[in-house]
């Protein structure tokens, strides 16, 4: 079993997904171990509490398991695909909540630096996270606030405009400028946007 797991660990995400399409539980387990932490962190940020985050991750990852055949390499990395499923399911769940109470929609500054990780695989992922945090750190607060409200809280652009007392056009403009600036950060570092 240990050797088998070692072999799985040598495979790239795209290869694991190809095995998951064939119903390979071992390949899925490795994908889970690589991406569950990011998925859960995103779910926790969106849902604001532990149980709802767990439910969201379970819902999203079983969708990954059952719908792996819909993954398309040209549309982005496996990680991006998995996180987009968590995000989309999270948006759906937030919008279907009877109460619009979202205690977590306070716009916080970018998350503080994570604790040093003992596992070097995490260190690698943390490097990517740090790149993203640096990119977000270049945004003016008013742009970051709107991106976070849109991405994490499930509010529509019109709702964000109402919430902040801004014209809808201003909200749209800040979304556009914010995304452009994130991409601009990576361009200025001569780096591709992480996939």
């Amino acid at each position: 079993m240990a050797d088998l797991r070692r072999q799985y660990l040598l495979l790239a995400d795209e290869e694991l997904i190809a095995l998951v399409v064939e119903g390979d539980a071992g390949a899925f387990a490795v994908l889970y171990d690589r991406h569950a932490r990011a998925a859960y962190s995103l779910a926790y940020r969106m849902m604001g509490e532990k149980q709802a985050a767990e439910d969201l991750v379970q819902d999203a990852l079983l969708k990954v398991w059952r719908g792996a055949g819909s993954y398309r390499t040209e549309r982005g990395s496996v990680r991006t695909w998995i996180l987009s499923i968590v995000h989309n399911r999270g948006i759906d769940q937030l919008r279907s909540l009877a109460s619009r109470r979202r205690t977590h929609d306070k716009v916080e500054a970018s998350a503080s630096a994570s604790q040093p990780s003992e596992a070097f695989a995490e260190a690698w992922r943390n490097t990517r996270r740090e790149q993203v945090r640096k990119a977000l750190g270049t945004l003016p607060p008013e742009q970051l606030k709107i991106l976070e409200l849109a991405y994490f809280s499930g509010y529509t652009h019109a709702e964000i405009a109402g919430l902040l007392g801004l014209p809808l056009g201003t909200v749209k403009g800040r979304m556009r400028l914010g995304l452009k600036k994130i991409k601009g950060y990576f361009d200025s570092q001569d780096m591709a946007v992480p996939r």
């Binding site: 660990l9 539980a25 982005g76 991006t80 998350a111 690698w124 652009h157 749209k172």
Partner: protein, 242 residues
């Protein structure tokens, strides 16, 4: 027929990738995309940028029971359980056989890499000999690399000479799947820069690190497609802080 024109698409696309369109506008934009597939790449690129926000939250460790709960469903539905090595290997063979067409295209590149490797053999052997004979040149230093779960038995070190030449030496590297290679990454700050490729032919391997390490903070090794990757596509198998 979609009610969205090009101008409206440009106006809504940012909110779309952020998940901030109401359902009716989201549906309209999807219909527009279905009839204008030439704009899909634009959405994909923008989605990739928006998707970076998913990496920004403070990290939380998922509880172990979540893994157990998900895997119990997965195992129950699996056509190929995790305990089936033979079927798994067959699956890998199938996977690799699909790539046979690509092998022809990469063959020339492989030949080039092997030729390049031959030219470097002398240098590698010299450097390896210096280490084995404990004739470390003044100013040189050794950095031990840490192995991942898949490389727990690996013993790996990088010898860095005072003129910035470096060689990575490793014992017991896991056997590579077909058409894969190990790739060295020189990490400066947050940025992994692609460096040398190598494929061990036996238990020991030595590979020259092509790029200078004077500005580097860490060095890592990942498994990549045979011709290498511009950015890492797998987690590091070995990593060491310089």
């Amino acid at each position: 027929m979609s009610g969205i024109d090009h101008e409206r698409f440009d106006e809504l696309k940012d909110a779309y990738v952020l998940g901030a369109l109401p359902e009716d506008e989201r549906r309209e934009l999807k219909e527009y995309l279905a009839s204008h597939p030439e704009r899909q790449a634009e959405i994909d690129e923008l989605s990739n940028v928006a998707g970076l926000l998913a990496l920004s939250p403070q990290e939380h460790e998922p509880p172990p029971e979540l893994r157990r709960s998900i895997m119990s469903v997965v195992e129950a539905e699996a056509r190929r359980p995790a305990s089936g090595p033979r079927t798994w290997l067959a699956g890998i063979r199938e996977l690799l056989s699909v790539r046979n067409l690509a092998l022809g295209a990469t063959a020339l590149l492989v030949v080039g890499l092997f030729s390049w490797n031959m030219l470097l053999q002398g240098e590698v052997q010299d450097l390896q000999g210096q280490v084995e004979n404990r004739q470390d040149p003044p100013g040189s230093r050794m950095v031990t690399l840490e192995g991942s779960e898949a490389a727990q038995r690996v013993q790996a070190e990088v010898m860095i000479l005072d003129d910035d030449r470096a060689v990575l030496m490793a014992e017991d590297m896991p056997r590579l799947p077909e058409n894969r290679a190990y790739q060295i990454w020189v990490i400066e700050g947050d940025v992994p820069r692609p460096s040398s490729l190598f494929a061990p032919q036996g238990a020991s391997v030595a590979a020259v690190v092509e790029d200078p390490l004077d500005e580097a903070d860490a060095i890592a090794v990942t498994v990549e497609p045979e011709g290498g990757s511009p950015q890492p596509t797998t987690d590091p198998m070995l990593i060491g802080k310089l």
